[in-house]
Symmetry: C2
Subunit: 237 residues, 2 copies
Amino acid sequence: MDKSGHSQHISQQYNAELEDVKKSMLEMGGQVEKLVADAITSIIDGDSGIAEQVRENDKPVNRMESDIDEECARILARRQPAASDLRLVLAITRASTDLERIGDEAGKIATQTIDLAEAGRSPGGYTEIQHMGTSVRGMLHDALDAFARMDEKLALKVAEQDKEVDRYYGSAMRVVLTLMMEDPRSISRVLNIMWALRSLERVGDHARNIAEHVIYLVKGKDVRHVGLKEMAKQVKK
Amino acid sequence: MDKSGHSQHISQQYNAELEDVKKSMLEMGGQVEKLVADAITSIIDGDSGIAEQVRENDKPVNRMESDIDEECARILARRQPAASDLRLVLAITRASTDLERIGDEAGKIATQTIDLAEAGRSPGGYTEIQHMGTSVRGMLHDALDAFARMDEKLALKVAEQDKEVDRYYGSAMRVVLTLMMEDPRSISRVLNIMWALRSLERVGDHARNIAEHVIYLVKGKDVRHVGLKEMAKQVKK
């Protein structure tokens, strides 16, 4: 296995098919990164125009997931890949599912933006959105980068970042709870912020999943339920 | 393809492998159904003992997902399944991912139970938990039944039920919002109920996903992003 993630085959056509579907997944990743970035901008700026676009642009992403899955099933049936090729195809199909879910979360954030555009701004929580947004965008970018470069160490870093994001999410939840108690008339608007924070936390989870698929791909080990310590051990092996 | 979901093979061993992994997934489904039922009981009865058990029993379910995925990868590599066998293996691995996520949601509901056991009961929302709980448990049961019997019509019914559950979820959200506004001191406890309702809504989504895998398996069509009307058309073809 070289750094393309698959063995080199006598069939140039087969190599090209593997490369193409990997490229499609990474392109889908780029689209999804943009959806997340735009969703965060929309809620911070209170821009329902951008939010509408995010909800609209979620559809081509769904289409991409179906296409990638179809192509993966076709490769499985026609090429009957083994070993690292098989892991690559499985990792691509799993990653595309996570990317589709991230697109859904971006759409949910956009929905909160649209609600807030009608109801008026929340009394707070925007700093927390900004902070978590920056973190999970970094995680998603690194996870895709790790996939592109077959970099299991970068993948491990993403999993470690997710722990930090989860901790920050806990404190952000306490902030929004306080806002609600201080001004009960703002509860509904603060809930919009709370759902957006929740969606960002989910984006972080899915980025971590993608990182786990990278470790599976490179190391052949399923690290989904093992905890960070054991994951680090597998990566360093 | 017969009602076992795969072609009959000359190799009895291969048939047995496909049957076994399907059975493992359905057994995992049974475990997950119990987790969801117990999680709902725990929050309604305020029983943190049951809640602790749910969080503990989530671990073997994670293990089951890893085992099923490993077995599916082994079958793909060794047997190189085609057509309906390939779809069966892919549908099993996807369904086990959804089941694992449902187990996570049951664990999240149990966490709300434990929070509430310390903070005192919520002023309301329990009727909504009960109602949504009954609906999504029915959906999950039907989705697994549809998988076991390769029943695409029952799968379609699950997708239709998910629409109803989503509608009910919307009205339950309005109920809990009102509770928070009426008594701001209860906000934190009502939020626990709200997160539990959210988890139940997610269980419904995953049950719907499993139903979509059944339709993919039986009809060979990816119906994940097509809407109910188109799904019904594919099922009736």
